[in-house]
Homo-oligomer: 347 residues x 2
């Protein structure tokens, strides 16, 4: 996964900013009828007709959000897009366009940016989003990425955070904790590499969790899956900072409480074994790990038969009256108030 250090280097200075944007984005195709004009003018032009436009933006900073010593640039480009699309999907909308801005210091040659944009291109292709703009500039230190994603939805389909009612079921897609466990493996291998750069570790037992960290997917499919089940979620949010933090956001916005059942939290077997290996509590990892980019949502109780046993979803709790607060119901049936221990870039 590490980059080839012997690659050819082309300095960015030679190209200049406009040449650089043109060079990096020339292979991008436009997929959406709503994209009237993409890159190449002062601004992009979009046409959403009668639909609503959805907009989300995120910034990723080297040394804070990612470590290039184990994050290949192509994966980083891919992940940068995923982080933003996830926010669009969490509105029960379809992602249609992205802008990608990047600032890099002189130590990055053109080939590094090409790798990054190859990841952006792959994400754009697989998730059918049009790259419509961006900015490339220099930084005094490291790499900074800012992505804005735009989506569309019929007004009736849009799902906010504030629609959950008491007795609604709390549901999560996929499984949790994988991205955090993958990070632990990568951090450990980085330390090993420092001591012995020639060590070739066998990471095959960790494939799933490393992929969850380095090449996360966002849940484009959930909107369709729920439509197929004839379920309209009452509230929805994506899990970027950890289950506990996102549950608290949902509860606060919807003015409800909730009971989350520890035994219902979906964990992949690889996550359970990695937690044992690293002597960390798997529930804590799911609650606070973050970066899983699964969707957390609430549904009306009457929809229970429609979703019960569906392999894509786990019912992990239910919403309660606000006064009851947000609680984890442990395996030993003890109620523990949920506190936000999600990831905070400032601490």
């Amino acid at each position: 996964m590490l980059e080839d250090k012997n690659q050819e280097r082309t300095s960015l200075e030679k190209l200049g900013e406009f040449g650089l944007i043109q060079h990096l984005t020339k292979s991008f195709k436009l997929n959406h009828k709503s994209t009237l004009k993409g890159i190449g003018d002062d601004a992009a032009v979009l046409d959403f007709g009668g639909k609503k436009a959805i907009v989300s933006t995120d910034m990723l900073v080297e040394g804070v959000h990612f470590d290039l010593s184990y994050m290949p640039l192509k994966h980083l480009g891919y992940k940068s897009v995923m982080v933003n699309l996830s926010d669009i999907y969490a509105m029960n909308a379809i992602a249609t366009q992205i802008t990608v801005s990047i600032a890099v210091s002189n130590r990055f040659p053109l080939e590094a940016l090409e790798e990054f944009y190859a990841g952006v291109a792959l994400a754009a292709e697989l998730y059918k989003v049009d790259l419509i703009g961006g900015d490339t500039t220099s930084s005094t230190k490291g790499m900074i990425i800012s992505v804005t994603a735009i989506g569309e939805a019929n007004e009736a389909d849009i799902t906010y955070r504030n629609g959950a009612k008491p007795n609604d079921l709390l549901v999560v897609s996929g499984d949790l904790g994988g991205a955090y466990c993958g990070l632990q493996v990568l951090e450990r291998e980085k330390e090993v590499f420092k001591v012995n750069p020639n060590n070739q570790p066998d990471l095959s037992p960790y494939t799933y969790i490393i992929e969850r960290q380095l090449k996360p997917e966002s849940r484009k499919d959930i909107k369709g899956l729920l439509q197929g089940l004839e379920i309209k979620p009452t509230a929805m949010i994506d899990i970027s900072d950890g289950l506990s933090s996102e549950i608290l956001h949902l509860c606060k916005a919807s003015e409800v409480g909730c009971n989350l059942f520890e035994e219902k939290i979906p964990l992949d077997p690889t996550v359970i074994s990695a937690c044992e290996e690293f002597s960390i509590d798997s529930t804590l990892v799911a609650l606070s790990g973050g970066e899983d980019y699964e969707l957390l949502f609430t549904i009306d109780q009457k929809d229970f038969p429609k979703i019960k046993g569906n392999p894509h979803f786990s019912i992990i709790g239910h919403m309660t009256d606000k006064n009851e607060g947000a609680n984890l119901v442990s395996r030993s049936d003890t109620k523990i108030p949920i506190t936000a221990q999600g990831w905070n870039s400032f601490s």
Copy 2:
């Protein structure tokens, strides 16, 4: 203009990311009917009905695009918005929404970010744009700002870069070179300050050019002015990198050449005197200085009587056949090919 260094300091760690966004944006009001949902969910929701949406994004990096030793944070917040709105106005569109993302290192206390957002708020209020989202995160060094602006326009009004025809007139709003001259004054004062921190310089002769650098305005008014004159520009671009660079963009996109008349380039008297003081050529400053955020556009020759003598606009040349190239016609009537010497963050 320098900040008060004895201000109270609140660490960002205490607030966390969500508390911070909430704190910084609580005073922002929404103005536009098209803003269905602003900050507070995974993404914002916009409704453009039958109009087209316009999107533009820019990144500003401390030490590359701005120097906090003479750029007050409030001005920086204001300018960050202007830079992006200018791109929307350059499409002959109305700016309606912005997202603002910011990464800062630990050396910035909350109060610094409040200052920055006060500038954003002022810009949002004066230019009637809604802040609908953003991201605040930490950086390992310095401050990085990423702004995305969204606008709307009727399809027939949108002006791209590629519509200029031979014989169209080349027109610019306002005057040029001021922002660059202001920067020269500020850089000089910074050097003086290093030697004698107690020196209180009299900057009043430079008020106009310093304002052009520290608190630029973007030309929200041009769309209305041109509508009033019943002129639809054939092509338009904003002057962020310097007149020569923008002319070349217009010529390339429109596949035309142009003759730019040196004697017609609009210069404020303060710019002329500052150029004399600093022994720099005022034409070169206008051509390569950048950051003026005026609009450069082309109009059909038949519209000449409508715009002639209008104090807001200067006719500075005309477009030619592509084979003639882009040329500066000097005061001595010599033709000099225009080369891009605009600002390049990578050099």
